[in-house]
């Protein structure tokens, strides 16, 4: 029971936050962070747990976003329904690509997913009649549940963060179950995992499809709350950012995903004229992270605590 308390405190904090920040631009940022937390959790699942280096997560995010945008704005489909259709569609695409591709290992898997991401991005640009082309898709219809329409950032904040926390909770449960174990085993040693009865192909695909559906969900929510999307959101550098979000805070932990996503999505607000520097900063962060802090920030904190403890014991 004691272990649940931090999460309850966190939930309370999240719900009270908008009141504390009343009217601040940061609520807009938090809405964006909320959507990316959902996507980053998926990345944590497929990269952190199952150990499959998928470089096309941003493409799945974009698929969800565009599916929602097109279905709701061009075809007047109900937003919630469109969101679910988007998730189903993206899941099927992920299954179709994943089943053959996940048999590959190492570089080949990474490049195959990279190539797939490029294809999706190119597709979004060329199918301009539906997607609006390189200039993007504007004035996306707002999200509504029944007769209640969400319009402002404050209004979007609650449903998005509710979904985000639900996703975190569900994923945490999966991680602590036999499925999480199986994925971690296949990441650690797939030969041994197979010999111990783990159907590695099935779990790889499960992780991949699940992460794609999370990304699609996130993309759909982003499309409605931001009202504007562009093919740039499917770019490789965005997939790289999502991987950083999953790893920066601390891989395979709830708070790690929250910290990583918050940092990555707050940087643009802190650095002026950031858009030009985004790629350079992303690349640099990833390199520094992997070379000097592979366990993430939580890992750094842990080793500092351990070192202090050891020093205290002397």
């Amino acid at each position: 029971m004691i272990r649940i308390t931090p999460y309850i405190l966190f939930a309370v904090f999240i719900y009270l936050l908008p009141a504390m920040l009343a009217g601040s631009y940061w609520i807009h940022v938090l809405v964006i962070i909320g959507t990316y937390v959902i996507a980053a959790t998926g990345v944590d699942l497929v990269v952190g747990f199952a150990g499959q280096l998928s470089l096309c997560q941003a493409a799945f995010f974009a698929l969800g976003a565009y599916a929602s945008a097109i279905l709701t704005t061009t075809y007047h489909v109900d937003p919630i329904l469109a969101l679910l259709i988007g998730m189903l569609f993206t899941g099927l695409v992920a299954y179709g690509v994943g089943a053959p591709v996940l048999r590959l290992k190492g570089y080949y898997l990474a490049i195959a997913t990279l190539g797939f991401g490029l294809i999706i991005q190119s597709f979004l640009v060329t199918m301009a009649q539906y997607t609006g082309g390189p200039d993007g898709f504007r004035d996306i219809v707002p999200l509504n549940i029944g007769s209640y329409t969400f319009k402002t950032d404050e209004q979007y904040y609650y449903p998005i963060w509710t979904v985000a926390m639900l996703i975190l909770l569900l994923t945490r449960n999966i991680a602590r179950s036999k499925i999480g174990r199986a994925m971690l085993a296949l990441r650690g040693d797939d030969v041994a995992a197979s010999a111990m009865g783990v159907d590695i192909a099935r779990y790889k695909v499960q992780a991949f499809v699940l992460s794609a559906m999370y990304a699609s969900l996130a993309g759909s929510l982003y499309a409605h709350s931001n009202r504007f999307i562009s093919p740039q959101m499917a770019d490789l550098s965005r997939s790289v950012e999502m991987i950083i979000m999953a790893v920066l805070g601390g891989i395979r932990t709830v708070f790690g995903v929250l910290i990583g996503t918050t940092i990555m999505k707050s940087i643009p607000e802190v650095l002026e004229s950031f858009l030009d520097y985004q790629m350079v900063v992303t690349g640099a962060i990833l390199i520094v992270l992997l070379l000097y802090m592979p366990q993430g920030l939580i890992g750094v904190v842990r080793s500092v605590i351990t070192r202090l403890r050891l020093r205290g014991e002397r």
């Binding site: 449960n173 174990r181 650690g188 590695i200």
Partner: protein, 251 residues
């Protein structure tokens, strides 16, 4: 005969690493597969466990031909193994490593896990209990929550045994379990093997350590250059001139 190998052959380029090998393992026995280095023992193992496809021949387990079944299906049918070079699951504790072995016996899936339905929680408790039992059986219960990779190699070997037993297998294949062990650890291993036999589990082991083989085995199969050269009880094998020639003085 719980395990039968008939005409098992495997080519690497044009060389037959295993050549028309046939032998059987009686249920409840401890059978050792021995031979000089490069005789084809590990290749045979990998064909039985499904890691390698035979060029010719078949493997029968409990009367059923295993053909192209992948390793995880064979494991579910009751065929378990350990590895010559330890393969622990890094990033997981000793207990979690062993729990993987039991997981295949539970039926709960993604949905019940995500929602923490009673079925999933029940399976978790069951798996955890079974894994602790096996750790107690091999004497590693005290290390249950330590990271698997923090154990010395000898103890990681023992953990692998617990992991292999966790699925309630009918046969366990041991790939050179004594490699790198000192005398005390080898004696402990011999004890474990005999205790496993007492549980009714069949054992097939590949080994170089002759003392261990002679002490625990009911039957021994000797191969060289991929072919069978002798089969019988340990004492029959010890005095077999062909076997002695094959080893050329190795005790």
């Amino acid at each position: 005969m719980i395990l039968e190998i008939r005409g098992l052959t495997r080519f690497f380029q044009r060389l037959a690493a295993v050549n028309e090998l046939s032998f059987a393992v009686k249920q409840g026995d401890i059978k050792a597969l021995i031979g000089p280095n490069g005789a084809g023992k590990t290749t045979t193992f990998n064909m039985v466990t499904g890691l390698l496809a035979p060029s010719r021949g078949s493997v029968f387990f409990k009367g059923e031909e295993l053909a192209t079944l992948p390793p995880h299906v064979r494991a579910r049918k009751g065929l378990s193994r350990t590895f010559q070079i330890v393969r622990p699951f890094a990033e997981m504790s000793v207990l979690e490593n062993v729990m993987i072995g039991c997981d295949m016996r539970t039926g709960s899936g993604l949905f019940s896990a995500a929602l923490r339905l009673p079925r999933s929680l029940r399976d978790e408790r069951k798996v955890r209990r079974k894994a602790m039992e096996e750790l107690e059986f091999v004497g590693l219960a005290a290390r249950a929550n330590d990271p698997a990779t923090s154990l010395p190699m000898g103890e990681q070997r023992v953990m692998e045994i617990a992991r292999a037993l966790a699925s309630d297998p009918e046969i366990v294949l041991f790939d050179e379990p004594a490699a790198g062990l000192n005398e005390k650890e080898t004696d402990q291993l011999a004890n474990n093997l005999l205790r496993i036999k007492e549980r009714g589990i069949t054992v097939l082991l590949v080994e170089h350590d002759m003392r261990l083989v002679m002490r625990v085995s009911d039957e021994v199969v000797v191969i060289n250059y991929g072919s069978l050269i002798a089969e019988g009880t340990p004492s029959e094998i010890r005095n077999n001139p062909e076997v002695i020639t094959a080893y050329l003085g190795t005790s």
